[in-house]
């Protein structure tokens, strides 16, 4: 094979093709400049936002707890030692209602309480707490006034200065102090999704609820059980279904009305902006600059202005989407008009039709599907942006999300709304996609 080169051949090739071997400095440095520039920019941004400091100061331990809250809830019974007795208490607003009596907490006798947390069993008396978990037993002596774990301490427990902590992973944890044992038991799922503890239906099985609704005596003499059940569900204090759906509807309306109006207004202006429809350069130019102006003013500015003018609610959201999309849709519509097939227009003109008829039959049939399909595209993307515009104060689900997140307590509600938003976004994407492919003609689908 001639591919193994002798030094002489190598030198020959080098001298015959110097350019191949001495590539210009400029050409060679381009990749380095791109990579180096990017790295420099990232370093600059790192410094500018103090990313390192913020990330290291982040409370990452909480991230896990917050994420767990999305799909689970916990119950926190506390065992309090009162002299020789022991008492089980619960926080005031807890998912089990005012008189919780879960079967995993058992008062054995006056001075002994047994609690099952997942696979772990806690047996507490005023002077000794015994925990059995994962085949190991932890005994905590309380008689000295300071909780003291007996050696050897299992890996899942820690002796601290004046308390002993045990951690069972996701299912829960225990904190033993001299005067109380605080237990956290976590369950997968959403608590009280249908009825909150204030509802008379709370705590009943599905079958019970159904039979009550169908043929039970009225729980409230004024309304039927079905109406009561629906009202209890709709106004569930923890999940606020009614309010959530109302806000979701507002968000959808913001996107829908904003897009439709923007399309309707952009439509005539696009005819003015298109060079081949309106022969006046001045008018074309004015209409196009108008579109640019509308596009350039951020939706946020419109939203904020209209919040000031009309107060929070869907109107500012509609306005924000409406004003920015007049520009975007108008520009696209004008481009579509300028790209039409002239032959069809000539055909109509050749039969001596008046100008309005020329537009109606020579232009509209060509551009209408394009117009509608672009409006549908914008409807899709506006459904997403309506959420965030709402959060600025324009109402809708965005604001509700923001409120739910503010407390750091209601992540499960956040997740609920996220799921609803995803469903709506996917549904609108699907409907609009189907409509668009029909508009695009039967040759596609």
């Amino acid at each position: 094979m001639a591919l193994a080169l002798s030094p002489a051949e190598f030198a020959g090739i080098r001298s015959r093709h110097p350019l191949v071997f001495q590539r210009s400095w400029k050409k060679r440095s381009v990749p380095f400049l791109v990579v180096g520039g990017t790295i420099l920019y990232v370093l600059y941004a790192w410094w500018f936002f103090a990313i390192g400091a913020v990330l290291s100061e982040g409370r990452w331990d909480r991230a896990g707890a917050y994420l767990a809250d999305w799909v689970s809830y916990d119950v926190r019974p506390t065992l309090r030692f009162k002299g020789e007795g022991i008492e089980v208490t619960y926080p005031r607003f807890n998912v089990l209602g005012d008189n919780p009596d879960p079967d995993w907490v058992r008062q054995v006798d006056g001075r002994t309480v047994e609690v099952d947390v997942g696979g772990a069993r806690i047996a507490a008396t005023p002077d000794l707490v015994t925990i059995t978990h994962a085949g190991e037993t932890l005994e905590v002596d309380l008689s000295t006034g300071t909780p003291t774990a007996a050696e050897p301490v299992p890996g899942w427990a820690v002796q601290k200065e004046d308390e002993v902590d045990a951690d069972f992973g996701f299912t829960g944890s225990v904190e033993i102090k001299a005067n109380r044992v605080a237990i956290e038991h976590r369950f997968l799922g959403w608590a009280n999704f249908i009825f909150d503890p204030n509802s008379p239906f709370f705590g009943r099985s599905t079958g019970e609820v159904i039979s009550l609704i169908l043929w039970g005596d009225r729980l409230d003499p004024d309304v039927s059980n079905a109406a009561l059940a629906f009202d209890n569900f709709w106004n569930n204090g923890e999940w606020q279904h009614g309010d959530v759906y109302a806000k979701l509807l507002q968000t959808i309306i913001m996107a829908f009305v904003g897009t439709v109006f923007a399309g309707l207004v952009a439509f005539p202006f696009a005819f003015l902006a298109a060079r081949n429809i309106t022969p006046s350069r001045l008018v074309n130019h004015a209409a196009k600059r108008f579109f640019d102006f509308q596009r350039t003013i951020d939706g946020l500015i419109w939203a904020l202005f209209f919040i000031r003018a009309f107060g929070p609610g869907p109107i500012p959201g509609i306005a924000a989407i409406f004003f920015t999309d007049i520009g975007s849709l108008g520009k696209l519509y004008a481009e579509a008009l300028e790209n039409i097939d002239e032959k069809q227009r000539e055909g109509i003109r050749s039969v001596g039709a008046p100008p309005s008829a020329v537009q109606r039959f020579g232009v509209l049939p060509q551009v209408l599907p394009v117009f509608l399909s672009q409006a549908l595209y914008y409807l899709e993307s506006n459904t997403r942006s309506a959420t965030i515009i709402g959060a600025v104060g324009a109402g809708g689900i965005g604001l509700k999300l923001l409120e739910a997140m503010r407390t750091n307590q209601d992540w499960e509600n956040v997740f609920y709304m996220v799921i609803l938003i995803l469903v709506v976004v996917y549904a609108i994407d699907g409907i609009s996609g189907a409509l668009r492919s029909r508009l695009a003609g039967n040759d596609h689908h």
Binding site: M1, A2, L3, L5, E9, F10, I13, R14, R16, H17, L19, V20, F21, P31
Partner: protein
Amino acid sequence: MLAFKGVTKRFGGKTAVDDISLEIPKGQMVGVIGRSGAGKSTLLRMINRLAETTDGSIVVEGVDVTQLKGAALRSWQADCAMIFQQFNLVPRLDVLTNVMLGRLNRRSTAASLFKIFSDEERALAIAALERLGLAETALQRAGTLSGGQQQRVAIARALMQQPRVILADEPIASLDPRNAQIVMESLRDINRREGITVITNLHTLDTARAYCTRIVGMAAGRVVFDGPAHALTEAAAREIYGANGMEEAFSEAITSTSLRFPTPAAHAAPALATA
């Protein structure tokens, strides 16, 4: 030595290659002829595994290449270079880089990822290009060359692979007669000087007879003729091409014009200039 043993390829219910057994000794220049759809292309693509076999084995130096996987498979692919009808170069990269890409299997992946090539490799690529008379175009974008030039670049890339076998799948079907001649001569030259086995699919009988020492005729997925070029009688040709395919078999025009395989206008114009 490359041996087909009962090689079969089915696409759904259709049998493209039907139980073919052949032995090709090292250093032969084999022309595979037949009408389009006879299974020539599939046969070739199965050798370097761009297509999988349904049945049978292809044994090279005692190794069944149809069973290779991962790095061993890629190493075999590097050993049998492929020339395509549509050249399959990277049009946006310069000719030199395109040729050096022939070595991708034989060098560090990391270095390749960042397009780092040594001067030695550059020199090798130039040497390959010089041999095909294209050294002057080394720094041009491959996409700006004519079809014939691009095919020669593809051959240079194949040379860079330092292959044991060169497979050429209709290498001249998209070229004008003059370029077709240059390409076929290059392949014959490589076969004669380096002793590399060349297996090439050809549409027409004349080309095959002019350049190949051995001719394999295929019809409907089966081998219907196998022998030296001079043994190919008109009766045999009739069997390969069928009664109404004889015109196709001898017509140089069909293989070389853009009637069947339209080439982009950008390629066609310079091709005419060189012709």
